[in-house]
């Protein structure tokens, strides 16, 4: 298989030693079928073991290997190196605090994630003995797409609102909340809609649509966020008519 040498410019940052992030260049012999992640792993294994990055599944499903590749958020295990020229810049995900090298702070995302109550809310839990719910394929398709999110956070790196409004719940978390709202088994929509109108509301989204452009799993979070806006408004209007609890 053909090999070419490419130069990789990696962001390096070690809070123990560096005041601010810097860059470091590596030359890597690249096989033509390599993904970006393969090159980073090569650097770590063979050239500089002090490079830190997250990865695991190398099959685009665990969501840990998101980085900026030439300025765009990418899932590095899914991004072919053949799409790039001789010089590839790799940075940690934009819009996130940088912990070290290519590793970003995830806790802020986890806070937002949890805040939308991403679980089935029901007044009364069904017991296992009662059997499964019935759900038509129509009902399933109403939320299926929004349940495909791997929490890779690329959408957060692409969204201009996330960059400027720290409270904004953000695309993936809203999509997740919306996913449960649309699930025929769930009864928690009013609680989540309440959340959607609180601090960092769904209305902060200005429909830049970048989240959906970069999403590697076709979740289309922009669709979710903008559907969520409408539902949050309906729910709010219901609340005006019947002050004690809309839907």
């Amino acid at each position: 298989m053909r090999e070419v040498t490419k130069t990789f410019v990696l962001t390096r940052f070690d809070p123990d030693q560096d005041e601010a992030p810097r860059t470091q260049e590596y030359k890597v012999p690249v096989r033509e079928d390599w993904k970006v992640l393969d090159a980073i792993n090569f650097i770590k294994d063979e050239i500089d073991p002090s490079v830190s990055h997250r990865w695991s599944c190398r099959m685009a499903v665990c969501g840990s290997c998101g980085m900026m590749v030439n300025g765009e958020p990418k899932l590095t295990c899914k991004t072919a190196l053949s799409d790039y020229g001789d010089r590839v810049e790799i940075e940690p995900l934009a819009n996130f605090p940088i912990v070290r090298d290519l590793v970003v702070e995830l806790e802020g995302f986890m806070d937002k994630f949890k805040s939308v109550k991403p679980w089935i809310v029901r007044a009364k839990q069904k017991a296992a003995e009662e059997g499964t719910y019935r759900q038509s394929t129509e009902e399933l398709s109403a939320f299926k797409q929004f349940s495909m999110c791997i929490n890779c956070m690329l959408c957060y790196s692409a969204c201009p609102v996330v960059a400027n409004e720290p409270e904004f719940i953000g695309p993936a978390a809203i999509a997740l909340g919306h996913r449960y709202n649309m699930d025929s088994r769930d009864e928690g929509a009013s609680e989540r809609n309440q959340r959607f109108r609180e601090e960092g509301t769904v209305f902060s989204c200005s429909y830049a649509n970048e989240c959906s452009e970069v999403c590697p799993k076709d979740v289309d979070p922009a669709a979710a966020v903008n559907q969520a806006k409408f539902n949050a408004v309906i729910d709010w209007a219901k609340g005006l008519v019947m002050p004690k609890g809309g839907s």
Binding site: V161, A163, N164, E198, E199, F203, S206, V233, W236, A237
Partner: protein
Amino acid sequence: MKTFLLKVEPVIWLLFGQGILIGTILLTAWLLVIGILIPLGVVPSDALAYERALRLATANLLFLPIGKLLLLAIMALPLWKGAHHIRSLLVDFGGGERDPAVASLLYLIATAGSVAAVMAVIRL
């Protein structure tokens, strides 16, 4: 201010959304005819002579003052689309921290304009 903004956000978003949807649909003909075709003389200017303009503006459809409602939409809705989009543009350019103040000002302008628009149709 922030909490107040949060409270009214759903209304603002509705007005904004209609500003894009209805605003865009109505403004196309409005700008085309009044802003371009009549001034250029393509359409004779007596098409919207005072008498006819007033008649159209005060036209009723069944019991609806349809003329006035359309005018109101054409005047007020674009203000909300404008205010909201300017706000988000400023946020994108790094105005996150100043947003509550900026947003309040913008929505105040849109509110004032909307009041003026209501008065404008009442005066007809």
